[in-house]
Symmetry: C2
Subunit: 346 residues, 2 copies
């Protein structure tokens, strides 16, 4: 086992100074041609690569981006990571991942752990618990220390930073308009409690679309599910809530769900009620994932373009990192949604 070779070792071996070696490798013309070549040959032979940690310490830059997300076993988030990694690598950065697991404490601890020199900036999506407690001091402190943050998807007005979001409002409207144009008269929405901002916006889009089409909204058509039911262990509870929705609205002919799982589960309930999809009732989900594509019937969805979100977030962050001027202007980029039509709608 041979340890990694350092400048010092090369210097000693070739009987020159460390500076000479360093300059030779960086092709400084301060060094004579023969010395330079000799050093370079030796370095290549021993496969010399500069030590990243030493460089980081010297330059006070790590060329590493920290990601903090609530959950990684999730189609949307992993797509975002893929986007971030793609851009980061292309621009010479590495990516370090922290999981908050939807917990406020883990979010705080993980951020502190990474903020002490390990990374140059953050890309993150806020955990549900943090949204609930509305405690954003850790973001403010991080930003205050001069470490830029880019938030995506679950963002919050109280924090001043670059943001990449999906136009949930418009996306939702797009879905409802599609249902209306396909002949639906009684459209329900299955959404989450309001503290998750994206759920709130999607509900608002639903209401607005109805209004614009002179369709009166009915409270019984709005089902706000407790978030904890999204956890895969409480599927039966979720199913029962949706069954209630069907029973209360016999003429239901369209369903818009704010995530895949709700939509798939709703389709299952519809099948139980002997309704034909899409003839009797149509479905649209949100977040284009693997479930939508491979369900039977396949599910029409609003795609969020997770990868694009990641790419944009990474570009925003790296731009800020590499701009020397410290401007305090922040932008919010909106990634357009897209309606992907499949078999669950006419």
């Amino acid at each position: 086992m041979k340890r990694k070779v350092t400048l010092k070792q090369i210097a000693k071996e070739l009987d020159v100074s460390i500076s000479t070696v360093s300059k030779s490798l960086r092709n400084s013309k301060e060094i004579g041609e023969d010395t330079r070549e000799k050093v370079q040959a030796f370095a290549k032979l021993y496969n010399y690569k500069p030590n990243n940690i030493a460089l980081s310490l010297k330059n006070r830059k790590t060329r590493t981006i920290g990601i903090m997300i609530p959950e990684i076993v999730h189609h949307f988030f992993s797509k975002v990571i893929r986007g971030i990694e793609l851009i980061a690598n292309k621009r010479g950065y590495n990516v370090i991942v922290g999981l908050s697991n939807e917990s406020f404490d883990k979010e705080v601890i993980n951020m502190e752990m990474l903020a002490n020199g390990s990374i140059d900036g953050f890309i993150l999506s806020i955990s549900k618990e943090t949204l609930l407690q509305q405690d954003y001091h850790h973001f403010h402190e991080t930003i205050n220390q001069g470490m830029p943050i880019v938030m995506f998807d679950r963002v919050v007005n109280e924090v001043n930073c670059d943001k990449v979001i999906v136009d949930d409002f418009q996306g939702s409207k797009k879905a409802i308009n599609k249902l209306i144009n396909s002949g639906c008269k009684n459209i329900a929405i299955i959404t989450t409690k309001d503290y998750v901002n994206v759920g709130k916006l999607r509900t608002q889009g639903y209401l607005q679309a109805l209004e614009e089409n002179q369709i009166p909204a009915k409270a019984s058509l709005i089902l706000k599910v407790d978030d904890r039911l999204v956890s895969e262990d409480h599927l039966e509870a979720l199913e029962q809530e949706i069954e209630q929705l069907f029973k209360q609205n016999k003429k239901l002919d369209g369903v818009f769900a704010v995530n895949e799982l709700y939509a798939i589960t709703a389709m299952k309930v519809a099948r139980k009620f002997k309704k034909k999809i899409p003839e009797d009732i149509q479905f649209i989900g949100y977040t284009d994932g693997v479930l939508s594509k491979h369900a039977t019937p396949s599910l029409t969805t609003i795609s969020q373009h997770g990868q694009k979100i990641g790419e944009k977030a990474a570009d925003l962050l790296i731009d800020k990192l590499e701009k020397d001027s410290e401007d305090d202007s922040y932008q919010t980029v909106i990634i357009e949604t897209e309606l992907i039509e499949r078999e669950s709608t006419k």
Copy 2:
């Protein structure tokens, strides 16, 4: 914006030496009680946290684990990451993620990038291209530099390191035995080309199970799909190949597929052929993912326990990192598979 405070700044402010500050914070009894308290109070006030990079350089340890996987938008791999992250965090390590995207070159480049001081050890699963080319020099070099590697799932005998694998052979047998016990007489396997080791093992398990039950294997019942068809863009091609399988074997009554997607697609084809599941034909998949759980009918699968694999791999790596003795013994841990019965089998 206030930059992070350093020992030097505290020292200057309190008019003591840097060493005094450092020792005070580490509660060295070399330092007098009053000085110690003064320094600690000041440090707390300014929220001093030691700089990780400086520590890494000094200790020649980063307390960071590098993960290199072929793909992150993948239920199995993200579960593994979750397992790694869980253990790593618990034991005070961070996790840095590299994606090979199934490419040999990216795997090599990414590994070199991380190996230069950024991490203490690797946990990885080999890319398909690397498996195809059988070029493992980058693994050998990394290990030679004294950086431990733990491989999982897609491993290879040629590299000497700790490994965590699934008992694909037994898992596959488990599945086939289940089908046989449920009355299947003509069981097909949908698998990948042999260069992916896990596909090969699963095929062997299939053959062995048949043999043990005195059922002759038939070549027409073994469908080896080109891997590129797993990419979601070639679903029709995949579907056609499976249709061929059905046409050639009219009495087909059981299908074992080495991944979720193949299984789901096969069920779709069966439905097209008006076969009832599980009455006329039964299905078992491999890799328990979100598709299996929410398909209709839900799919019986062999679960690989991705999270456990990640946890075990992380424990193995950290154990090796923290053991000072340099023992050259490597172990291969086998994670048991589990048959999860759902609606696609009787």
